[in-house]
């Protein structure tokens, strides 16, 4: 489903070039639950940003379902991202002036893929799926961090995308809430979604099928996990 081929990312400042990714190549199959981990500054977030089209690579190719996303222009990329990728951010990033339900409805309104009449029903289903049915009318500020992140996950899959990309989704949560998030992601993976997640978490990898360790812009290790534990 996803192919990184010789991807390089170099940040150029006036005097020096800083390579952040060095000739990175790997593939991810449909339905995989991949964890990308590494130390701060290792390049893992850049990897994720390139996968979601938020950032560009300096060279190489990133093929997603046969599309080389590095060749898409801005408008095509925006459309592609909305149709194919659901992003879960570390700081939840819900729109503060929209209610919980409206936050989930927003991507459906933006992409217009789901018929108007079915959007509300789907939003409510997604909210029920993350266990927040009773919070539909609340504003995000009225929810706890964990609850906000569950809403963010529901929002990420609102357009029924195949790929969910999460950037340290539990980085701001306590253990209990982090557990709940991993459970939800795991359930989504079981329902067929491909999940790519960047995380610092060392122990909790419940449901993940593969781990990629990035160090100094290179893939240091890439191995399969079993039952969420280090194989």
């Amino acid at each position: 489903m996803i192919q990184f081929r010789n991807v390089n990312k170099i940040y150029r400042t006036g005097a020096n070039d800083y390579p952040v990714l060095k000739n990175v190549s790997f593939g991810i199959e449909k339905g995989e639950y991949v964890i990308i981990t590494g130390k701060s500054g290792s390049g893992k977030s850049t990897l994720l940003n390139i996968l979601t089209g938020v950032d560009n690579a300096s060279s190489g190719d990133v093929m997603v379902n046969g599309t080389n996303i590095l060749r898409l222009d801005e408008a095509q990329m925006t459309r592609w991202r909305g149709e194919n990728v659901g992003i879960v951010f570390q700081f939840f990033q819900l729109i503060p002036t929209l209610s919980v339900l409206e936050n989930i409805l927003l991507p459906m309104d933006l992409m217009n893929r789901i018929p108007q009449g079915k959007r509300m029903e789907r939003a409510k289903e997604l909210l029920a799926m993350v266990g927040l049915s009773g919070h539909a009318g609340k504003m995000p500020s009225a929810l706890s961090g964990g609850e906000q992140q569950r809403v963010a996950i529901a929002r990420a899959i609102a357009n029924n995308v195949e790929l969910i990309v999460a950037d340290e989704p539990t980085g701001n949560l306590d253990t209990k809430n982090a557990e709940m998030i991993f459970d939800i992601l795991s359930e989504l993976n079981k329902s067929g979604k491909t999940i790519v997640m960047v995380t610092h978490e060392k122990d909790t990898m419940k449901g993940a099928s593969r781990k990629i360790i990035v160090k100094d812009g290179e893939v240091l290790e890439d191995y399969l996990l079993k039952g969420g534990c280090v194989q």
Binding site: V54, I95, P96, L106, L110, S141
Partner: protein, 792 residues
């Protein structure tokens, strides 16, 4: 302190666009206020001094003859300090093929020795020779002739003469030639006599104890002395046919009009200045709000409130000093041009465009003080927070207590988002809605007044049911006139009106002023008077008269039902005022045909023939053909005017005044627009992260731009709704004020005018809203997802 100052300076320019917009708003506001204030000072001063320099006459008399005896008698008359002989004739001048305009021709004995109502040379010679003339500078455009050109004039006997223009002069004692579509020319007495012209005028200045201007130009005293003078002349066998004493002797006829208009402009420009200050305050508020957490940190590391506040105040003080300095330079630079342009409307030019030092001082004090007061409160509020409150400050009202507007179901989520975003910052919303609403209400008021003026003028012109009229000194019999008109092809109908003049006599027997007498025939179909009070004339009336609204402006002590005494052709007659009508011509008295036949001696009668024409082609062509046909029929036309001329004169009177008001209103709208643009910049910057999230969810450029634009349009529409409410009382007031100021009569408040103004303002509001959000919308749409998400 140095570090804090540096930080405050950087904070200000963190968002350069926002800072520039706000600075422009205050700059334009301060400049408009300065410009109008300085103009007011210059024009008020110069109108007095420039007019004073011509040494205006206290009064002017028209007598049947001027001879050595009259000169001797006048010299010996105690009440008159100086006097001057002049000749005046009202003729016609050719301005095109079969096109004639009114010519007011003056003869002066020695141009360079004029002692009062002085004219000054602008170009060419100042002493016309025989067959030569000087032309008034404003009349050059009317006659479309300059030095070296020849004026063809038509004399009272129908013959034509030529006058070669040898010089251009300025005569600021007359009404501007362009406003009256009249040509003023000046000739020598030799030419006057050779052309067989008469018209004996005596201009004079009365004596005053110590030659004080107050007494020279005291109207009561002038009237009293003038009457003694007239009495003396009449006792010596002279006949005085006209007395002219200005309503405001010694002062320019434009002074009050200018002062009132400039006072109104000053109010408008002060509002513009206040708007600039409010927008500045909004900028400061948003800067402080954006820095609140950092302020908390600064306090946490030991900076005290006074120092932080001082650093921000110092930065803004320097900025205000800068904007004041720039606006002062711009105002000073433009004030000369603007004063000259405005004074040129009254055919005057300022001799000195300097602004007195004290006014600069007052202006600078105000321009510095008001914005600093506006800056003080948001700075104190933001800096005054405790460390805990400041560090935990999120700036945006995210609770459910925020203002909620009805949210129609059909609105899309992104538009809904814009709507709610606009309401996130209530004080900011209030500021924008307030500025735009007040600007809108003022705009609506001015435009409603403008439309009402145009409608009033047009309705008034419609009350005259003729297309063309001319004056002739031949009194035609009905049958004779019928035969003539039958031979003028375009004539579809005609009426013979009587015309004359009479001098108003007060109850104490004092002669006051001359007024035109107009007498429509019985059962006239060519007038449907617009009565302001009382009734129109009936066929049975004889000594009942109707006066035009301008009569009451000169004679405010009279009212409907009062007795009015006129001296017509040497006879004193009493009349009763039965009505007042709107008439934009000169002050006139309307008399029934019975009254005219009974009270106006035949020798003093002129005929005013009014024609209804068939327009089988261009109006101008028909007018020309009619003139020619009338001439072929042997009719001697003394003056003529078409309805198009009347229309142009009426419109020309008010156009520039209204344009000036519209200009200031545009300044107000521009400042409000800058305010909205600055706000949209802040609102969009605050939402950068949100925009990044939406882009990450697939929102395209158009959707992002639409969200920003919708928000701006929403603020504009809210302000439009408020301006609709505010606009009603302000328009009623505007119509009253503008009516009295511009056309000296209350305008009719028309709902149609108000609606039209609202529609114009709605379109303008939408345009302002769109332009205000255009650049920040584009910027938001162009920002990459990565940059948006990384925005702090």
């Amino acid at each position: 302190m140095k570090r804090l100052f540096k930080k405050a300076m950087r904070d200000l320019f963190l968002d350069k666009r926002r800072a520039v917009m706000s600075l422009l708003a205050i700059l334009i506001g301060t400049m408009s206020f300065g410009l109008v204030t300085f103009c007011y000072e210059i024009i008020s001063r110069e109108l007095v001094s420039v007019y004073d320099a011509i040494n205006p006459a206290s009064g002017s008399l028209e007598v049947d003859r001027i001879d050595d005896e009259l000169i001797a008698l006048t010299k010996a008359f105690d009440g008159i300090a100086i006097f001057e002989q002049k000749a005046y004739s009202k003729l016609r001048v050719q301005t095109g093929e079969s096109e004639w305009k009114t010519l007011e021709l003056f003869a002066v004995k020695d141009f360079s020795a004029m002692e009062m109502n002085k004219i000054t040379s602008e170009k060419g010679s100042f002493q016309p020779g025989e067959g030569e003339a000087l032309i008034e500078r404003d009349a050059v455009k009317v006659a479309d002739a300059g030095i070296g050109d020849t004026l063809v004039i038509s004399l009272h006997d129908g013959s034509t003469k030529e006058l070669v223009i040898t010089g251009i002069v300025a005569d600021i004692g007359l009404h501007p030639a362009t406003a009256h579509d009249t040509v003023y020319a000046y000739i020598s007495y030799d030419t006057l006599q050779n052309y067989g012209l008469t018209g004996n005028k005596i201009d004079y200045i009365i004596t005053g104890s110590n030659n004080s201007p107050e007494e020279k130009y005291d109207r009561e005293r002038i009237l009293s002395i003038s009457n003694e003078y007239i009495k003396m002349l009449e006792e010596n066998g002279y006949t005085v046919t006209d007395l002219e004493v200005s309503d405001t002797p010694g002062l320019s006829m434009h002074l009050e009009e200018y002062k009132s208009a400039l006072f109104l402009l000053q109010i408008f420009s002060f509002v513009t200045f206040l708007f600039g200050c409010m927008i500045m305050s909004g900028l400061i508020s948003s800067i402080i709000s954006g820095q609140t957490r950092q302020i908390g940190i600064l306090k946490g590391v030991g900076a005290d409130t006074g120092k932080i506040m001082g650093s921000y105040m110092l930065v803004f003080f320097l900025l205000i000093v800068l904007t004041t300095a720039v606006s002062l330079c711009l105002s000073t630079f433009f004030v000369g041009g603007l004063s000259s342009a405005l004074m040129s409307l009254g055919n005057m030019r300022p001799a000195d465009t300097s602004v007195p030092g004290y006014l600069y001082g007052m202006y600078c004090a105000l321009a510095l003080l008001v914005p600093m007061i506006a800056a003080f409160f948001p700075i104190r509020r933001g800096v005054g927070l405790s460390v805990k409150d400041a560090v935990n400050y999120y700036g945006v009202n995210l609770d459910n207590k925020a203002v909620k507007l009805p949210e129609p179901k059909f609105l899309s989520r992104p538009v809904l988002l814009s709507l709610r975003n606009a309401l996130r910052r209530r004080s900011r919303l209030l500021l924008n809605v307030a500025t735009l609403s007040v600007a809108g209400a003022m705009f609506v008021s001015v435009v409603t007044s403008m439309i009402s003026i145009q409608t009033t003028l047009s309705d008034n012109l419609d009350s005259w049911k003729f297309d063309y009229h001319f004056m002739t000194n031949t009194v035609y019999e009905d049958e004779e006139l019928k035969e003539i008109m039958a031979n003028v092809p375009a004539v579809a109908g005609y009426e013979k009106w009587g015309s004359s003049s009479g001098m108003l006599v007060h109850d104490n027997g004092e002669i006051v002023n001359s007024y035109t007498i107009v007498s429509p025939p019985r059962a006239s179909v060519m007038i449907e008077p617009e009565m302001l009070e009382g009734r129109w004339l009936t066929d049975e009336d004889s000594n009942q008269i109707v006066v035009s609204h301008k009569f009451f402006l000169s004679e405010p002590d009279y009212q409907i039902g009062d007795r009015l005494t006129l001296q017509i052709g040497g006879q004193i007659q009493d009349f009763i005022i039965v009505g007042s009508m709107r008439d934009f011509g000169s002050a006139a008295i309307y008399m029934s045909e019975n009254g005219y036949e009974q009270f106006v001696p035949t020798a003093d009668r002129l005929s005013n023939i009014k024609l209804v024409l068939n327009f089988n082609g261009l109006r101008k062509t028909v007018y020309k053909a009619t003139e020619l046909a009338l001439k072929e029929q042997g009719i001697l036309i003394l003056q003529s005017q078409s309805k198009s001329d009347l229309n142009a004169i009426a419109a020309g009177h008010f156009a520039v005044t209204l344009q000036t008001f519209l200009f200031i209103i545009c300044m107000l709208v521009i400042v409000s627009g800058f305010g909205l643009a600055a706000t949209m910049n802040v609102q969009t910057a605050e939402r950068t992260k949100e925009i990044g999230i939406m882009k990450a969810m697939g929102a395209d450029r158009k959707q992002i731009t639409d969200i920003v634009t919708s928000e701006s349009l929403l603020i504009s529409l809210i302000s439009w709704i408020v301006s609709v409410a505010l606009g009603i009382p302000l328009s009623v007031l505007g119509v009253y004020v503008f009516g009295n100021l511009v056309i000296e009569t209350p305008l009719q408040f028309s709902i149609v005018s108000l609606m039209a103004s609202y529609i114009i303002w709605l379109f303008l509001t939408i345009a302002v809203g769109r332009s205000a959000s255009r650049s920040c919308g584009k910027r938001a749409a162009n920002m990459s997802v990565k940059d948006s998400l990384a925005f702090e």
